[in-house]
Assembly symmetry: C2
Homo-oligomer: 401 residues x 2
């Protein structure tokens, strides 16, 4: 298919975002000039080691932890794997039962499925129609042998922010360890490990204008974690491998800037997001806002468009120069209805019309206007090709669907 | 301690190396301009996906594999973990015994130790005084239930290159899968997975002027590997997590350049290395070249200096502006005698005086001359402080040591 426009509107910031100019600036020296290994005993090593520790302090400051509690990783997925496997194995003497929500990212969900093969059991906590988790439901899922509860802070597909500060202390009263996947939230909304009262928290730099290939797991001091990578002494042996100083310096800088700017960013983006949501609901029939109407990520708008398949929308939007998503980039080609939307009770045929628009620093009102101009005709065109829509029309718009 | 010189000589390229200017040039756009997620269905995603596949082809070309057999990772350590754990778990139906050499990197050695905790067994193949492995010793270690043999291609601490092409086919006749850790060799000497006849091979970009944070595991088609990270669909589900396109584009470019230049680089560096080794042996008494005298990495010189402790040498060299190492950066602060040197039969007190100099693209003859000028007085000074040396002198240089 040929492109029909020169205009470009990128509304897929959660899948991929540029690195901030200030972040890139601090990274570049670590590619060409400061290349010592942080473990080396010489001036070159000292420079890299100091940079790494500065980055650790910056990440710490963003989430209000202690620097020695940060384990650097290469992605949010790696952080979640290390958290769930490492914490489960670390508490193995107390049981083999894990509780997660039904809408966790695949890096948590598939990780507990993997653990199941070695004798662990897990329970899925349901969510309501807004993708919200009831703290009581979490507690109801806890058994005597529950060692770990992992509930995400915010969902990347529907944007819903969970009441972690209500859930975590109740979980901890039972003796289970509490982890939260805060990959989608950290750097975008306030994330404070003390306020949230969690034991472990995953984050990733690419969610707040740091580089891809940078992530961290924060684990509260005293909580036992078994490393998932074996090798040398890096990260106190908890995550060996030559440190990617360049990426981690970028992560640190992005954290520092996010800490300073996230409130103003969120204020601006949530206005634009609300303008987008309002426009979509007004201009298109049979569209559902997915996720919570207010307790959602500030840069996040997600919908289900009835009678249409998500991927078709993406392709037509792309012809108009618009980049959006139909779900997590980790699964977007899998062409299956999202487990998140199904868990929220959306019928399969509606869940398939999933559309996710995530806004970012360069997003302007004009970009939203352009989408609101281009998208409705795409919906019309796709519905004209849709047998589901034809059936719906035939049976009468107000008839029995 | 204060620095005593403005001259800088960096001879620790294996621990850390700059990214080539051409590599950096191709990476930069993937930080700021081309930030789409390779899994996304739009033009931004297409650009990143194409870049990733180009990188995959470039890495493939360097080792003569097939592109669909490359799994991108974030480090050599991760590649080795994925290989050893993933292959062992993949062949679990046939047994639980693993064979590795006694001089493997900690990312292999500590990985089999980890597997031992879940019921696997392993045997260590000994090496001779040059760190060389006898193919027959490998075969002698194989049992009926041996499922995996992992022998490194070249050793990072002593530079010795193993006869993998002789070992691998014999191992495969027994039905075991053969993996080689080629992190130290790939990009520095010819590495051809067909000639070596291996089933799996680990490599890392930071060993050949690509970025830190980039690595790959090549696994021959048809060989069963269990993923060690769980999550989305990236790398065909074998290594999920948002792809670090920037680093991997750099890895690809570095591989392309290495393929073209490694012969000429190796010719130049091995001359300089030989000049360094000759100078060290002539100027310093009681020094041993560790590793094989000729079958060694072209940029690699390693010694044991008697009566001295490695870390003290590093600190005094640093004062003269010289960066060297006393072993693997993954263990350099552990202050223990290297398991590699001990396996080669070096007495503990000699192994402690380990010194590793690794040369690189910017190394010139003048740098070697500077080291040969500065190092002998450091040795003298340290030996004057050494009780071991005092004892040696007292008992007579030709007396009973």
């Amino acid at each position: 298919m040929e492109k029909t426009t020169d205009r470009k509107v990128y509304l897929d910031y959660m899948a991929g975002a540029p690195v901030l100019p200030e972040v890139m600036e601090v990274m570049l020296p670590y590619l060409k000039e400061i290349y010592g290994n942080p473990q080396s005993i010489h001036a070159w090593g000292d420079q890299s080691r100091e940079a790494l520790e500065t980055a650790r302090d910056q990440v710490t400051a963003l989430i209000n932890g202690n620097s020695e509690e940060i384990i650097f990783t290469a992605s949010g997925t790696e952080s979640n794997n290390l958290a769930v496997k490492g914490l489960a194995q670390g508490q193995l003497n107390r049981g083999k039962h894990i509780v997660i929500s039904a809408i966790e990212h695949f890096s948590v969900l598939n990780t507990v499925r993997r653990l199941e093969k070695s004798g662990y059991e897990f329970s899925l906590v349901p969510v309501d129609k807004h993708g919200m988790i009831d703290p009581d439901e979490v507690i109801n899922s806890i058994r005597k042998d529950t060692i770990l509860v992992s509930i995400m802070h915010a969902n990347g597909e529907v944007g819903t922010i969970q009441p972690i500060a209500e859930i975590a202390p109740k979980v901890k009263e039972t003796g289970a360890v509490f982890h939260t996947d805060a990959v989608a939230s950290t750097g975008n909304i306030p994330v404070d490990v003390q306020e949230l009262q969690v034991d472990a928290l995953s984050l990733a730099g690419n969610q707040f204008y740091g580089p891809k290939g940078s992530g961290a797991l924060w684990v509260r001091k005293g909580v036992r974690l078994i490393p998932q990578t074996d090798g040398g002494i890096q990260e106190n042996g908890r995550r060996p491998g030559t440190e990617d100083v360049c990426a981690l310096v970028g992560l640190g800088k992005a954290a520092e800037i996010a800490k300073r700017e996230l409130t103003s960013r969120a204020a601006r983006l949530s206005q634009l997001r609300d303008y987008l949501i309002k426009g979509m609901m007004e201009k298109i029939d049979h569209v559902v806002l997915t996720g919570h109407p207010s307790r959602r990520l500030p840069h996040h708008a997600s919908f289900s468009v009835e009678f249409i398949e998500g991927e078709a929308m993406l392709m037509f939007m792309n012809l108009d120069g618009i980049a959006v998503s139909s779900g997590s980039a980790c699964t977007s080609k899998a062409l299956k209805a999202s487990h998140v939307l199904l868990a929220m009770g959306l019928p399969h045929e509606i869940a398939q019309g999933s559309l996710l628009l995530t806004l970012g620093l360069e997003t302007q009102k004009e970009d939203i206007d352009y989408v609101l101009e281009k998208f409705p005709p795409i919906v019309d065109r796709l519905r004209q090709m849709s047998p589901l829509y034809a059936k719906f029309i035939k049976e009468g718009k107000n008839g029995n669907q």
